[in-house]
Subunit: 256 residues, 2 copies
């Protein structure tokens, strides 16, 4: 049955989408079956996989708010083994609509139940906030993967994120744990990056992955072609980092 992983951090632009998409691609290339759920109204994960949100009829919005079976929303991507539940801009209205629904924090967990047997991993790409969409991701998840940009301001919000994770674990989802912390956009030329790495390793000694994702322009170019880094520039430093992260992730999740 699938391991569900939420990619969450309320700090914006830290690499949640880039990590969910590219880690997913390398896991698929290694033969794992991965479903990526785009839970951000910006639909960046959807676009990054080459799918135009404007052409989508059934997205996560219909699944959460209209109880359309998730199987009807699942879209295949260019990458065999990496499927997508797309997001559209309609999702922006979902949080307000969800406020009044019964068991509003569990809507995603209930929606995923019918497809847990089909996948090895289900990744949920959350928006940059700790609202109901992110809480749904944390409630549905076994573990949360926290991308942390190698910047000072990215450190600030970590204790609040941890507080929210503990709240969800205590009130909604007792199995929730930190599956991992990934350092992103590392720039070896700056002291700041080195300081942030040391700080994050001290804060999360067990959870921080050894693999660090460097700042690499190819990673920000790939979405404009609707491709993962594995298709766009498999030899670049960014691709190699995500390949290494995928190996480390599988070793951690599936036992040595």
């Amino acid at each position: 049955t699938a391991t569900v992983i939420a990619f969450a951090n309320q700090k914006g632009g830290v690499g949640k989408t880039t990590t969910a998409v590219n880690l997913g691609a390398y896991l698929a290339a290694a033969g794992r079956k991965v479903l990526l759920v785009d839970s951000d109204p910006q639909s960046n994960a959807t676009t990054s996989l080459g799918i135009d949100p404007r052409g989508i009829y059934v997205s996560l919005y219909e699944v959460l708010i209209e109880q359309v079976p998730i199987q009807e929303a699942i879209t295949l991507t260019d990458r065999v083994g990496l499927d997508l539940v797309p997001a559209t801009v309609d999702l922006a209205g979902a949080e307000v609509e969800m406020t009044g629904l019964m068991a509003r924090e569990r809507l995603l967990a209930r929606a995923l139940a019918p497809v847990l047997e089909r996948y090895d991993y289900i990744f949920v790409d959350d928006p940059p906030s700790l609202g109901l969409l992110t809480v749904n991701g944390l409630t549905a998840a076994h573990g949360v993967l926290i991308p942390v940009q190698c910047e000072y301001l990215a450190l600030e919000g970590l204790s609040h994120l941890l507080h929210t994770i503990h709240q969800v674990r205590d009130m909604l989802n007792p199995r929730l744990h930190i599956a991992g912390v990934v350092l992103t956009m590392f720039d070896a030329r700056t002291n700041l990056s080195q300081q942030v790495v040391a700080e994050v390793r001290r804060f999360f000694p067990q959870e921080t992955f050894q693999t660090i994702i460097p700042r690499n322009v190819r990673l920000s170019e790939a979405p404009s072609y609707g491709q993962t880094i594995l298709s766009y520039a498999p030899g670049c430093a960014g691709a190699q980092a995500y390949a290494a992260l995928a190996r480390e992730f599988m070793a951690r999740m599936e036992g040595q």
Copy 2:
């Protein structure tokens, strides 16, 4: 009476806080009286100005939810002429609490009324979402300043942001207009940056500022010292860009 400017873009990490803080600093240095309202529970603007959110008793949360007069929340900063209404993590709970309040979109506009005569500019630093905190910023504002990172994914959300701006203008705040679009984190070495600049200039021919903010590590270091770029590294490329932006901003706002 003060011109109120909201710094908004639901895409995360595009430079909203960095622009509000540093543009504010240069306007204060030019003799303008500026109030910066930190409307993001991450309290990055608060930290960037050297103020520890944990030591704050009256923040924007008390002003919005408990109707504490905003004068009691205003904090002086190191920079004469740049005052702050700080945010604390309590603000994270505000959006849910605001949902049920009367005239919930106008809470900030009402709160600012008593201090409009004291300032030339009031800047509101919004979180990376289009929820009630951002809608309050847009409802209180005369204009919205949109930072756009020179990245492909940053282009994706612009039409949704425009849609929300138009909705607020039609339903809540008829004077709302786009005060300007600022291109941030420009990296001259990449084609992507040049393409995004061309695209944004085509999308917003009148509104895009000539000044482009380069990617510059000093800008991301300054917040770790609680300083604006003007105090931390006034000679660096980032500081010079914000100084030029401030001149362009004043020319546009105050007439040639």
